[in-house]
Symmetry: C2
Subunit: 197 residues, 2 copies
């Protein structure tokens, strides 16, 4: 009983959830994605910078554009999913900081005036948010299929032509289809991942 989270929620988010490789035709609604966003938006980022942007690739035409940049089996997986999300960093996230961190509006210029440090912080915090988002998809009773095997430079050019967003992860979302899951691979033992000093 070391956890406060109830066992059904543990199973839904972690123990019984698996990365899905096939999906049914059942649609994923905008309402479901909004509920996911309205949940995971509360998880923390540094200075509340919230740099993650999500592009829902819903139309068949847009999905066919996207899979031109897929590697290996990721194209077929993506076409089989009812919805695909491209996760990206807003490289100009600092413009929203005075609104997002109102008790210290000077943070914007003090820490984020340079594009290089902004991209580093934005990438780190958007990646944290990607972890939250994957669990949020599961919280909606859906399966996520996150993939890094894409030509992200190509996606950036085709989908974010203004150069203000940098894609880093593509996630298929839906109800798992036939043979959707690989067998669970082993995880590192506690002793191999956690040390005490």
């Amino acid at each position: 009983m070391a956890l406060a989270l109830d066992p059904a929620a543990q199973d839904l988010l972690f123990r019984e959830a698996h990365t899905a490789n096939t999906f049914t035709d059942e649609p994923v609604t905008d309402e479901q994605i909004q509920a996911v966003y309205d949940l995971v938006k509360f998880a923390p980022t540094a200075f509340n910078q919230s740099p993650l942007r999500v592009t829902l690739v819903r139309s068949r035409e847009a999905r066919e554009r996207l899979v031109k940049y897929a590697m290996g089996a990721n194209g077929d997986k993506t076409l089989s999913a009812p919805l695909t999300a491209v996760l990206s960093v807003d490289l100009d996230f600092h413009e929203k900081l005075p609104e997002l961190f109102p008790h210290a509006p000077g943070i914007k210029d003090a820490y984020f005036s340079e594009a290089t440090s902004r991209e580093a912080a934005g990438t780190q915090n958007a990646t944290l948010q990607a972890g939250y988002f994957i669990l949020g998809v599961r919280a909606a009773g859906l399966a996520a299929g996150p993939m890094t095997g894409f030509d992200f430079a190509g996606i950036n050019e085709k989908f974010f032509g203004d150069g203000k967003q940098k894609a880093f992860l593509v996630i298929n979302i839906g109800k798992p289809g036939d043979d959707a899951f690989f067998p669970r691979s082993p995880r590192l033992a506690f002793e191999d991942a956690v040390a005490t000093v």
Copy 2:
């Protein structure tokens, strides 16, 4: 009712949880951290690479060593917490891939023989795992206080002298103390963070 996760779990992990800046003296046990790890270890990483390593800084002596690298108020926050975790990337995570991804042991050499690509993938995936870990701390009924305001190069030298681990986040863990929370800052509206194509 767009979410399958029950409302109490939504509150525990996201809605009612806040980054804590002060902590009570109540200890955080090894059993609690093991329960957190044994939950969040199931969340996905690319090729199950699982590059996150967690160093629990528990003794007063080790905590005083750590806060030498803290910026601003992070040192006092850290000394006030019963437990602090340094999150790092194992830059040699590929050595464990044949065990972690047994159905395709060739991945280790095909994708991860070069230190540069290994560090990029390891950093991205360890950061996803950091997101899972923060929510796992909350799943244990504890508050997390994640911080990036540390001299990580100094931490690496002092705590990971062999150069095989790269620290990127420090998280205070415990029960929230007096005035532990800032007021909730605004989050981006759905329309400002999510687009559809």
